[in-house]
Symmetry: C2
C-alpha cells in the first residue's frame, strides 16, 4: 500500500512530532449530517447500513468530504462481536441497541464461543478493505470494538440500562460466570481487532462505555484486566507500519494511571477530566485523546474557538495529543460548527508544535 | 423539642465521636418497598403523594419501621423549587420529571422570582413539621433540595436528558442568562432549605445530580459557586442545635478538594470514588457520606457484607463517615438486603469507633 499522505494521527498516537494536533470526532459519520441520514434512509436501518460494505464506505467518507479531519473511523457498531456470537443485535428507535437472546442461563454462558471474524464478521472486514481503497491513503482508518466489559453489560442486561442491574447482580453473586463471559469476550475482541488490522485498519480503539459505572476495584477486576488482555494480544505492526491502539473508558478519569499502565499507546478522556492534570498524571507513558465537551458545539462560534483553545492549552506544548470530543457528537449539532472546530484545532495548535 | 434519642448522624456529619457509623439510604422511602407502592397507588401519583403531608409522613416513616436506619429523609422531590416558581412540575412514567413551562425565552428568565417557601411550598413545610412530630425525636430528619445547577438543567431542558443540550447551548452562547437563572435558584434554594430547617429539618442536603456532566471549569463556574452561595446562607443553628449540611455532586469525585472548601460540613460520594483516597484528599475538613454501589444490593448476602466492610475499612478508623449508597436505591432491590446492609454497617463499624 502507498504511504499515508496524512499520518498526523498515527504519529501523535505514538508521541512522535507532528506539525499540528490531529483531530477526529467520535461518531463523525452520524445523524448530524444530512447526507448520512439520506444514506441511512436508503439502507432502511442503522444495522442494514452497518452491514452493507458499500454503504458503510459511503458514510465513513462523508465527514471527510466536508471537514479537514485527520482520520476516518470505520462505520460500525461497538456490539458486532456478541452479534456474531449469535445473540441477535437489533435496534429500537430511541432505545439504543438490544439483544434478542441475552445471556440468562448458565448453559448459555458455557456455550459462548469466540467467533471467527473471517467467517462471522466478514461484512466488517469487507467494509474495512473497501474503505481503505476509497481513502486512497489520504488519512488513516480507525477500527474499533466495544470493550469486553461493555459487551458483557449488553449481553447480560440485553440492552442499555441506567444501572445494568443484571450484570451487577451477576458480578455480586456469580462473579465466576461474569469472568467466563469476559474471558471469551477478550479473546473474541482481540481476534476481531486483529482481523480489522489485517484488513486495513491502521489504528484500533476499545470503547469502554460502561467501565465508568464500576467501583475502582471492580473496574480493575472486570474491565481493565480484560482490556489489558486484548491490548497484549493486538498486532503492533502491519506491513512495516506501527499500529497504535487507544483505550477509552468513559467516566474513567479517576483511574488514568492504571489505564496508562496496561501497555496501550493512547488513552481517551471524557470532558470531565482536566487535560492538564491528566497529562501530568500519565507523563510520557501514553498519548491522550480528547476531550472537548460535545455541548460546546451548541455554543457560539467565538465560544467554540475559545473552548478548543482551552483544551489545546490544557495539553500544552509537544506531541502526544489527539483532539476529539469527550463523547460522541450529538445528532443535534450544526455541521458548520464541526468545520469551525476542525479548523480551529489545526490553526490554534501549530503554536504548540 | 426533646433531645434526639439517636443523634449518630448529626454527630458524624460534625465529625464528633459516635459508637458506630450511622447509615441511611438515598431514596430509602421508595418503590422497592411494597408498603410504599401501596401508599403511592392510594395517592394516585408520585406528585400527589409528595404534596400530601399526611401521606408524605406515612412513606417517610415506612423504612424506619423495617430497618434500624439512623435518619429519616423528607419524602419530596428535588424539583419543588422551580415548581413553586410556576414552571409546572409533572411526571411521565418511566421518563422522570418534566416541566410544562421550561424557560425558552429571555423574558421568562427575566421574570423568574424567588418563591416564598411559606406561601408557595407550604405543603413541604407542613410535611416536615408533621414528620418531626411523628418521629418523636427517634432519629433526625434530613431536608433537601436540588442544587441550583441541577434545577437549571431541568428548568431549561424541560426534563431529564442525556446531554442537557439546551442548558449547554445557553452555557456556551448566553452564559449571562444561565447565571441569571442560577443566581435566582441559589437564593430560592437557600430560603427553601432555611424554611425546612425552621420547620424541623435537622440537617439539609443539596443534590447536585447533574454537576458531574460538566467540565471542571464549568463545574466551578456554574454549579459549585452557587452551592457555595447556598451553603453560606444556610442556618447553622436551630433551637440551640447545630444543623449540618451535605453537598452531593454525582460524578464529582474529581473535584472533591474544591467541594470540601466551600464551607459545607459533609460531602457525598458516588461509588466510583475510592473512599480511602477521598478521605486522604479532604483530610479533616469535611465528613464523607457514601458510597456503596447500589448494584451490590443485587448480590448475595455474603457479598453484601463483604462490600459493606470494604467501604467501612476504606474510610478507616474514626468519626466523620455516614454510610450510604453512592446513588439512590434501585426499585428492584430486595428489601431484605437493605436490612442486611443496615445491620452489617452497625455490626462491622463498631471496631472503627
Amino acid at each position: 500500500m502507498a504511504k499515508l499522505r496524512n499520518d498526523a494521527l498515527i504519529k501523535a498516537l505514538l508521541r512522535q512530532p507532528t506539525p499540528y494536533t490531529p483531530v477526529w470526532i467520535m461518531r463523525q459519520a452520524g445523524r448530524y449530517l444530512p447526507e448520512y441520514n439520506e444514506t441511512r434512509s436508503r439502507a432502511g436501518s442503522f444495522l442494514a447500513l452497518a452491514k452493507n460494505p458499500d454503504l458503510a464506505t459511503e458514510v465513513t467518507l462523508q465527514p471527510l468530504a466536508r471537514f479537514a479531519l485527520d482520520a476516518a473511523i470505520l462505520f460500525s457498531d461497538i456490539l458486532t462481536v456478541p452479534d456474531a456470537m449469535g445473540l441477535g443485535l437489533y435496534f429500537v428507535e430511541g432505545e439504543g441497541p438490544k439483544f434478542e437472546r441475552p445471556l440468562r442461563d448458565e448453559w448459555e454462558i458455557r456455550n459462548l464461543f469466540v467467533p471467527d471474524p473471517n467467517e462471522h464478521l466478514r461484512y466488517v472486514l469487507d467494509a474495512v478493505a473497501q474503505i481503505r481503497r476509497a481513502l486512497d491513503s489520504r488519512v488513516p482508518l480507525i477500527g474499533f470494538s466495544g470493550s469486553p466489559f461493555t459487551l458483557a453489560c449488553y449481553m447480560v442486561d440485553g440492552g442499555a440500562s441506567a444501572d445494568f442491574r443484571l450484570t451487577k447482580a451477576m458480578m455480586y453473586s456469580r462473579p465466576d460466570l461474569l469472568h467466563q463471559i469476559l474471558s471469551i469476550n477478550a479473546r473474541a475482541v482481540t481476534a476481531y481487532l486483529n482481523a480489522q488490522i489485517e484488513a486495513g485498519a491502521q489504528t484500533v480503539m476499545l470503547f469502554d462505555t460502561w467501565g465508568g459505572s464500576l467501583t475502582g476495584s471492580a473496574y480493575r477486576e472486570y474491565s481493565l484486566t480484560y482490556m489489558e488482555q486484548v491490548v497484549g494480544g493486538l498486532l503492533r505492526w502491519q506491513n512495516g507500519d506501527r499500529v497504535p491502539n487507544i483505550i477509552f473508558t468513559k467516566g474513567g478519569g479517576a483511574w488514568l494511571e492504571d489505564i496508562a499502565a496496561i501497555g496501550t499507546d493512547a488513552v481517551g478522556l471524557d470532558w470531565t477530566t482536566d487535560m492538564t492534570a491528566a497529562r501530568l498524571r500519565v507523563g510520557d507513558r501514553v498519548a491522550l485523546q480528547g476531550n472537548l465537551d460535545p455541548g460546546v458545539l451548541f455554543g457560539s462560534p467565538e465560544r467554540i474557538r475559545t473552548e478548543v483553545q482551552a483544551v489545546l492549552q490544557g495539553y500544552g506544548i509537544g506531541t502526544g495529543h489527539v483532539f476529539n470530543l469527550g463523547h460522541g457528537i450529538s445528532q443535534y449539532t450544526d455541521p458548520d460548527n464541526v468545520g469551525l472546530l476542525v479548523n480551529a484545532v489545526h490553526d490554534l495548535s501549530r503554536a504548540n508544535h
